[in-house]
């Protein structure tokens, strides 16, 4: 949405289904437009009950300050919340830990989940809106959005920002270790550094962070998420950042190795979207049938 235009009307009337991720991204985009140009966005709710309930349950209307009355909070949902370079990020995300504790059954692991999300939002405030690369007037600097929900013994968290993207900031924040890994990965497929696309750089950046070499311990949010998947037993993380996507997935079977990789996105994301799925394996039994959501 371009804030210079007359205005935008978001017509969700015929929407039959809306995913939590879309709720989050749509809310963020509306806030971005309203923040850059007040009253530039209007819209209408879906006629169908299912998507209306999803929007309500995710706190979409509450977050945007629209609609009448107060929808009841759903205990298994972490409603959309947003912040910037706030000092109270840990307090804003504290109910994350409570839901995590209930689902994972491990208070220390739940506290680590809270810590990993805090760290991810700190990274957003520190790096994602680097003014060296940011186009003025296009984003609410420093802003992030987080939501999540619990399902049986699984947690899914989503974090989103309108920053310049990991592929842009990583060379500055990681340095030589990034280029070493990038050159190595590209050489394996017969490419050189000049051929690097966003997804190549994102994957090299994450692997560089996880190796803990190079610069002092910055940017540990994503590595914390992966470490916690390993600790809990099963899960995945998907990172879509501008033109590339990175995926890490750990199956429940301890005999199977985690898989990771990256691929280009057909449609660029105007920022960075993280979808973090973490599940516990209780008593050696797995919750059957849940597919990884990328």
């Amino acid at each position: 949405m371009d804030a210079r235009r007359e205005g935008v009307f978001i017509d969700l009337a015929d929407c039959e289904h809306i995913s939590p991720v879309v709720c989050l991204m749509l809310c963020a985009e509306i806030e971005r437009c309203q923040g850059l140009r007040y009253n530039s966005v209007n819209g209408c709710d879906p006629r169908s009950e299912e998507p209306r309930q999803m929007l309500r349950g995710m706190g979409f209307h509450r977050r945007l300050g629209i609609g009448r009355g107060k929808a009841p909070s759903v205990p298994s949902i972490v409603e959309i919340r947003s912040g910037g370079q706030d000092a109270d990020i840990p307090e804003k995300l504290d109910d994350v830990a409570r839901i995590a504790e209930r689902v994972l059954g491990d208070p220390s692991l739940a506290n680590r989940v809270h810590g990993a999300l805090n760290e991810a939002m700190l990274n957003v405030s520190m790096h994602a809106y680097d003014r060296e690369f940011l186009t003025p007037g296009k984003a609410l600097e420093g802003r992030w959005w987080v939501a999540g929900f619990a399902n049986d013994n699984e947690l899914i968290f989503m974090a989103y920002d309108h920053g310049v993207g990991i592929a842009t900031t990583a060379p500055k924040t990681i340095g030589e270790e990034l280029y070493r890994r990038l050159d190595q990965a590209l050489a394996m497929i017969g490419l050189g550094r000049a051929d690097a696309l966003d997804h190549h750089i994102i994957e090299a950046a994450i692997k560089a962070r996880r190796s803990r070499t190079g610069k002092a311990q910055h940017g540990k949010g994503l590595t914390s998420m992966i470490d916690l998947i390993q600790r809990a037993g099963r899960g995945s993380v998907s990172i879509c950042s501008h033109g590339g996507q990175y995926l890490y997935s750990k199956p429940a079977d301890p005999a199977m190795e985690p898989t990771e990789g990256s691929l280009p996105l057909a449609h660029s994301v105007p920022g960075t979207l993280i979808i973090w799925h973490i599940a516990s394996i209780k008593n050696g039994k797995d919750n059957a049938g849940h597919a990884h959501a990328a």
Binding site: Q85, D86, A87, D88, I89, P90, E91, L93, D94, A97, P107, S108, N111, R112, H114, G115, A116, L117, N118, E119, L122, S125, M126, R212, A216, Q217, H218, K220, G221, S224
Partner: protein
């Protein structure tokens, strides 16, 4: 006469929500904890026990800045380990994590010289 180890309970005496590295990340940052609690003890040669239990959402940035930052402030891992003991009954894995930040900071400082 045995000296008692002074106990700092982060959640009660510093903040229930320690967060971030630097003052512009918020008031309860790792740099402040290091400067106000850890460095004075090291300079005075006082033994300190840092209790992490009850602190919510501890993240790597806070811990690395607080403890790894001691090396960047000029203290050796030996000095740090001899005077500062970290306790965490809720999550003992913090101890190994903090030690890794101290060791990694020392390696980086060593590599720079």
């Amino acid at each position: 006469m045995l000296m008692q180890r002074e106990i700092i309970r982060i959640a009660e005496q510093f903040s229930r929500f320690p967060y971030g590295r630097y003052p512009d990340h918020g008031p309860n940052n790792g740099e402040r904890f290091r400067e106000e609690y850890l460095i004075p003890a090291l300079r005075d040669g006082r033994e300190l026990a840092v209790d992490l239990d009850g602190a919510r959402g501890l993240g790597p940035s806070f811990l690395e800045e607080a403890f790894g930052g001691l090396v960047r402030a000029g203290f050796s891992p030996e000095q740090i380990n001899s005077l500062i003991r970290v306790n965490s009954e809720d999550d003992p894995s913090y101890l190994e994590e903090i030690q890794s930040y101290i060791n990694d900071a020392a390696a980086l400082v060593g590599a720079a010289h």
